[in-house]
């Protein structure tokens, strides 16, 4: 077994390679995520952060380079249900109850009915939606739907959680509450998380490390360590928090020197 939840080295993703409309989405990206670590990917649109997540999830394949997820190829990891994934849209199936939406990954993994049901209810407990188990997804608010999606992504108890702007469509208050819940859940289950976001405070609040990316071509420019310890509501107002926010902001503007080797092999800093 690998010591890393995710290990990516020299990853390139080139769309329409060789054609006139060739686009380099990822250029020589290397990233290691330790087990139990929370890493955010941040950067402007087109910086390849979602593409990197999709390569890790084996929703698309890398053009060049090595990717290991839970010590295996991304394809094997996907087939093994080694990761759970949540998107910006909750992507719930309208014709299933909330409980049966959470059961979906278990159903496809071949769990029997009773075990599935018990596990789904346990997860709905965890996201505090136990009372809504038999509701229909569209009867729930956006934040509640997203909690269902997170419960679903955790269904098979994966080692790794991949999240693509899961709170992007939520209002600020709901968003902060969801962030706390996510940290609580990830901590309780010791899940490694790779979290794509546009929001600097969100990235800083959630992560052990913030990976800053830059477009054309998509690449990692900085990795910012966030040594904030256990988070609570005071964290958001602490000086250390604002310092980290500033560090990430500077990195995004390309003004800061690359910081934080801490476990991450930094790609080039062009």
């Amino acid at each position: 077994m690998s010591e890393f939840a995710v290990h990516a080295e020299g990853v390139w993703k080139i769309f329409n390679e060789g054609a006139a409309n060739e686009v380099t989405a990822l250029s020589d990206v290397s990233l290691d995520v330790r087990k139990g670590e929370f890493v955010s990917l941040i950067g402007p649109s087109g910086c390849g952060k979602s593409t990197l997540l999709r390569v890790i999830a084996d929703l698309t394949s890398a053009s060049r380079g090595t990717v290991e997820v839970a010590g295996m190829t991304p394809q094997k990891a996907r087939e093994d249900h080694q990761y759970g994934i949540a998107f910006q849209q909750a992507a719930l199936l309208d014709w299933r109850t909330v409980r049966r939406n959470v059961e979906l990954p278990l159903e496809l993994a071949g769990w029997d009915k009773a075990k599935r049901r018990a596990r789904a209810l346990e997860l709905l407990d965890m996201v505090q939606l136990h009372d809504f188990a038999e509701s229909r997804p569209w009867e729930l608010s956006g934040g509640m739907q997203q909690r269902v999606a997170i419960a679903r992504s955790l269904a098979t108890d994966p080692e790794i959680l991949l999240m693509d702007e899961p709170f992007g469509a939520l209002d600020e208050m709901t968003r902060e509450r969801m962030q706390n819940e996510l940290l609580r859940i990830a901590g309780a289950t010791n899940t490694s998380v790779i979290f794509v976001t546009h929001s600097i405070p969100e990235a800083v609040y959630l992560s052990n490390r913030v990976v800053v990316m830059s477009p054309r071509p998509g690449r990692i420019t900085h990795v910012v360590d966030v040594p904030l310890g256990d988070r609570n509501e005071d964290t958001r107002e602490s000086d250390a928090f604002f310092e980290a926010v500033t560090a990430v902001r500077e990195a995004l503007r390309g003004r800061a020197k690359p910081v934080g080797e801490g476990g991450a092999r930094l790609a080039e800093t062009s």
């Binding site: 999830a57 929703l59 994934i85 998107f87 992507a91 199936l93 309208d94 014709w95």
Partner: protein
């Protein structure tokens, strides 16, 4: 409940007023039945020939139902093939459009010649041809118009194409299917009736309307028209009921 009643009364009232105005027009203007028979005449013809009316209605309804089922099955099957096999997709859609453009009126005598003169088969086939297109188009759309994010989710769960069909595409297509069926069901009745109109056994509403009109029995012809409307409405309402049962989640956005 009260809100429901408020929905039901206006159309009934409007219908009653319409019939009243019709009756008044015929009586005051002293219109001859071959121009326009009075509703009262149609009604008495209807009630005094009730058994025949019901029998004829059932004959046509059976033809329409057989054609509806057959056309629907073929429509669903071909939509699934078109969705699953890329090669067929570009082939199937023009063919489906071609079938939609078949002039059924002209086709009827040809089919009547191909089969036994007492056979119901040509009528069922014509109905099926008419039914096929709205079903195929809607089901195909329902199977393919799946949110990409849900496809990615299922891919992340390593779902096979068959599983994707079962857990995503088919449920997604159900509301589309019923939209198609709501068009196809009354259309099936009309198609069966038109097919009866153009030869074949002297049974069914189409034949009887033609025969009554030819015999100047205009009251009877109109009474059969009323039966045709009842059968068409029944088909529509049955579809509506099926839809409610089969797609409870789609209730919010359901069309009439």
């Amino acid at each position: 409940m009260k809100a429901r009643l408020n929905l039901i009364w206006p159309p009934i009232l409007l219908g009653a007023l319409f019939l009243l105005a019709w009756q008044a027009l015929v009586v005051i203007q002293d219109l001859k039945p071959y121009l326009l028979p009075a509703p009262s005449l149609i009604f008495t013809t209807f009630t005094s020939n009730l058994n025949l009316m019901v029998e004829t209605g059932i004959y046509t309804a059976t033809t329409a139902a057989l054609g509806l089922v057959f056309g629907t099955l073929v429509g669903i099957l071909l939509a699934m093939v078109a969705q699953r096999f890329f090669v067929f997709r570009n082939l199937m859609i023009p063919i489906a459009a071609g079938i939609a453009a078949v002039p059924i009126v002209a086709l009827t005598p040809i089919l009547n010649n191909m089969f036994d003169i007492t056979s119901r088969t040509p009528r069922v086939l014509i109905t099926a041809i008419v039914v096929f297109f709205p079903i195929f188009v809607n089901v195909y759309r329902g199977l393919t118009a799946v949110p990409p994010v849900q496809l990615e989710l299922l891919r992340s769960l390593s779902a096979t194409p068959r599983t994707v069909l079962r857990v995503l595409r088919i449920p997604n297509a159900l509301p589309f299917f019923f939209t198609g069926l709501k068009v196809a069901a009354p259309l099936a009745v009309i198609a069966a009736l038109v097919a009866e109109y153009f030869g074949g056994p002297q049974e069914g509403l189409g034949s009887k309307i033609a025969a009554s009109a030819a015999n100047t029995a205009y009251g009877r012809a109109w009474a059969y028209v009323v039966v045709a409307i009842i059968v068409g409405l029944a088909f529509y309402l049955i579809t509506l009921a099926l839809e409610r049962v089969a797609t409870p989640w789609a209730g919010r956005t359901r069309s009439a």
